[in-house]
């Protein structure tokens, strides 16, 4: 835990700075529904590591609970997957409460090493990895950068730096439809917002470029970016996920049928977060057979990667991913998903089966046999 010295001396001003809406906290009647679905709790077992407990912690912070390591771990082991919100009979929105509590603490300089790490890396590099290399290093044709375009492809940190081939494949398809790139894309801000930090500066930088290009539509292949672009940016432009774009252009893509059977993992921020369930399935079914995972659509289980959990609690993160893999049906050739963070986490947990991006599947179906 990090806490500046003066903060230590001044004591915690939790009550003043924990700006969490009382109404949203009081909606929770502690019925325990969320306890049965929280993926972090399933692994960790402590009441403080489930949704109900986190809401109690958030409430107590406003009333003066000292934010020790255990409090930070309670709040920061939430992947913000939102399955609790989907199941809550009272209509509470626990991920928002968790995020507000994180923000209240971070604003006082109280955060985990991982939270501080995100801030430092993003501040120094504009991406979550602290990478200083060219964000468009994957782009073979710099001539593709245009000054004006109706639509832009928002690549995201993960595909820019970790999965450049996915970025290249995606852009290869999108540019056919006149989609351009931002000249100096920055992290969308999602990792900072989820972990309680302010992302205003990043949002401003991206927004200025989107405005300068005159773009009316922003297309992204990352569920985290999608969620941030939709909910944290002013509603000046349409935000479209890559699977929605692909599903809307199936006829033009001229996909050939592949002799494969795959399953599909719903990324939390694409599915529950943005209600996008059918488009990726339409694209998959246009190419090959799809067998659903045991828990799917609004019931889909988290990959364990989100909410800063992968960075802050790597063992927990991979444990959650391994449990998600138990939902994979027998006899499928690959797991397809639409979020690089999910893909990365499922791969790293030792899937024992290929985990690919939807765009990989589409690229295979476009390539001549």
């Amino acid at each position: 835990m990090r806490m500046s010295e003066e903060r230590r001396e001044a004591g915690i001003r939790a009550k003043d700075e924990m700006k969490i809406d009382s109404r949203s906290i009081e909606l929770c009647v502690r019925c325990g529904t969320c306890r049965s679905v929280c993926p972090a709790f399933e692994v960790l077992g402590w009441e403080s590591r489930n949704t109900r407990g986190r809401i109690m912690v958030a409430k107590a912070l406003r009333e003066g609970l000292a934010p020790d390591t255990n409090v930070l771990d309670s709040l920061n082991t939430c992947t913000t997957c939102g399955i609790c919100a989907a199941k809550c009979p009272a209509g509470a929105n626990p991920p928002m409460i968790v995020q507000s509590a994180r923000k209240g603490l971070v604003s006082q300089g109280i955060m985990t090493e991982a939270q501080a790490g995100f801030r430092e890396k993003v501040a120094g590099s504009g991406n979550t990895f602290g990478e200083l290399g060219d964000r468009l290093g994957w782009l073979s044709d710099p001539g593709a950068i245009k000054e004006k375009a109706d639509s832009v492809y928002f690549v995201g940190c993960l595909d820019s730096y970790r999965y450049p081939e996915v970025a290249a494949k995606t852009f290869e398809i999108l540019r056919r439809f006149g989609v351009a790139l931002l000249p100096d894309e920055q992290c969308c801000g999602s990792p900072l917002i989820r972990t309680g930090s302010d992302a205003g500066e990043l949002i401003d930088k991206n927004l200025r470029q989107i405005r300068d290009m005159g773009a009316k539509t922003v297309i992204t292949g990352c569920a985290g970016c999608l969620s941030a672009l939709k909910k944290e940016y002013p509603p000046e432009f349409d935000v479209v996920s890559v699977p929605e774009f692909l599903a809307g252009h199936l006829a033009e893509l001229e996909l050939r049928r592949l002799d494969l059977t795959v399953t599909y993992h719903d990324p939390c921020h694409l599915g529950r977060g943005s209600g996008i369930y059918d488009p990726p399935r339409e694209v998959i079914r246009a190419i090959c057979d799809l067998v659903e995972m045991k828990a799917n659509r609004e019931n889909a289980r988290c990959c364990g990667g989100g909410g800063g959990v992968r960075a802050g609690y790597p063992d927990l993160s991979l444990d959650i991913a391994r449990r998600r893999l138990l939902d994979v049906p027998d006899g499928v050739d690959a797991i397809v998903s639409c979020c690089p963070l999910c893909i990365r986490n499922l791969r790293d947990s030792g899937a024992g089966i290929e985990v690919i991006d939807l765009i990989d599947l589409v690229a295979m179906a476009i390539d001549p046999a």
Partner: protein
């Protein structure tokens, strides 16, 4: 050595005295609160035995807890001490279906047990609204039941044998695997509903039932809840035993529709009758129910099939907490929520509750297992308004006293805990209370087992520990 260190000697890192953890275990789904000094998550009977043995030696209270979904504070450490979170002991140890039995640890979640039994054609009938997350241990300790108790009875009808850690840490078994036994005091039933005040349940042999071949749902609506209550009495008088018989008053119906606009529920105060059995038998029973209800009902219909039936039941199970969907400034507070009366007194109870709701100016949803006389009254208030809290308390008290006056009970299935302890003597009479106190003292002479519950141990036991 500190107690926390001694606990860590027994369970390792699965013991905590961290403030955040103690806070998170300081309540269940009721308004009762009490902060434990320690939280322990045992994974075996041996660990539970060692922890209880330590508690006995140190004179520290022990409160057993499952999923913490209780509505009366039964799992809340009102006098501090150790909370034993048994939800990690969640293995189904044996499926002995030839003997109609399963052997489980206490932390098994009800729905998981039934998912496991379903492919074998069996089920465990007690079916509370919290089935998706409550534990079998909690169901046993509170004699929980639910929607199907009108035909299948309560948890006590499905427990053959228990493994219990007593107050000195010793381990006993209370019964046998036989479907019946005539061998002395019925210790199994003594521990069922004892709310952890006599020992900690660490294992159970449960009796299971064959799944019925068919189920059908009849939905009848009435112009008043009282009229609906009269239709229930008439149905029973006609010799029909439904597998579930629920009432949803018009406010409850509005909440359910808000949660799921596609639900096909009629206007008015609604009765749901479920019948189960063979295809022929359910068709006949459904027709009989429709015939009994038709003269007074404004509409009678049958659910289209299994899918619609499941949707209605799923919505009904969670309606308790859903009132905020109707008005986000209101929260459902679980007080006065579990009264029960003899079946023929149901119209009178409904009348009294309506009068109380009006007198205290508090809106109320009335729903529940009307077929067994159990009415769940959901009072909802703006929790940020202190005056509404005061009226809430008065209304809950009035509801409890009305149930007792009508020859009923302050709790049908949620338990007494600390929330309803004050009504024990009034409901049971001093004679029965004295017998219970004698049993409590005999089995728990130091008063360390879940003290402060059931109104049995106000005069002895360890002093309040921690912030409890």
């Amino acid at each position: 050595m500190d107690i926390i260190e001694k606990l860590r000697d027994i369970v390792g890192e699965r013991a905590s005295a961290a403030p955040a953890e103690r806070l998170c275990y300081s309540s269940d789904a009721s308004m009762v609160s009490g902060t434990p000094d320690y939280v322990v998550r045992p994974l075996s009977t041996a660990e539970v035995s060692d922890v209880v043995g330590l508690a006995a030696a140190e004179g520290v209270p022990v409160t057993a807890r499952g999923a913490g979904t209780g509505l009366a504070g039964g799992a809340v450490a009102v006098r501090g001490g150790i909370v034993l979170d048994l939800s990690g002991m969640n293995r189904i140890l044996e499926m002995d279906l030839a003997n109609l039995a399963v052997v489980v640890e206490p932390g098994v979640v009800q729905a998981r047990l039934n998912e496991t039994l379903k492919p074998h054609g069996f089920f465990f009938p007690p079916d509370p609204g919290s089935a998706a997350f409550c534990t079998i241990g909690g169901l046993i300790a509170n004699n929980g039941s639910g929607m199907r108790s009108v035909k299948y009875g309560t948890t006590r009808n499905y427990v053959l044998d228990l493994e219990v850690v007593l107050a000195d840490g010793s381990v006993v078994r209370t019964g046998s695997r036989t479907l019946k036994a005539a061998a002395g005091y019925d210790l199994t039933r003594l521990f069922i509903g004892s709310e952890g005040t006599l020992g900690v349940i660490t294992g159970a042999v449960l009796r299971v039932m064959p799944l019925p071949k068919a189920r059908r749902l009849v939905i009848a609506s009435f112009s008043s809840a009282e009229e609906a209550g009269q239709a229930v009495a008439a149905t029973f008088a006609a010799g029909i035993v439904p597998s579930a018989c629920e009432i949803l008053d018009r406010t409850t119906v509005a909440v359910l529709r808000r949660c799921d606009p596609s639900l096909r529920l009629p206007d008015g105060d609604v009765l749901l009758f479920e019948v189960d059995g063979s295809e022929g038998a359910v068709a006949e029973a459904a027709a009989e129910i429709a015939a009994v209800c038709s003269p007074t009902a404004s509409s009678v219909m049958t659910a289209s099939g299994e899918k619609e039936m499941e949707e209605i039941w799923a919505a009904r199970r969670l309606v308790g907490a859903a009132v905020s969907r109707l008005d986000p400034t209101k929260s459902r507070i679980y007080v006065g929520e579990d009264v029960g009366v003899p079946i023929k007194e149901i119209p009178a109870l409904i009348r009294e509750v309506a009068e109380i709701s009006e007198r205290f100016r508090l809106p109320a949803m009335k729903y529940g297992h009307i077929g067994d006389g159990n009415l769940h009254v959901a009072l909802f208030i703006d929790v940020l308004d202190a005056r509404e809290w005061a009226r809430l308390e008065g209304a809950a008290d009035a509801i409890h006293r009305a149930a007792i006056r009508l020859g009923g009970t302050v709790s049908s299935e949620h338990g007494i805990g600390a929330a309803r302890a004050e009504y024990m003597a009034e409901q049971l009479g001093e004679g029965a209370i004295s017998v219970m106190r004698a049993i409590k003292r005999a089995l728990d002479p130091k008063g360390i087992m879940n003290p402060g519950k059931l109104g049995l141990d106000d005069d002895y036991g360890p002093p309040s520990g921690g912030e409890g």
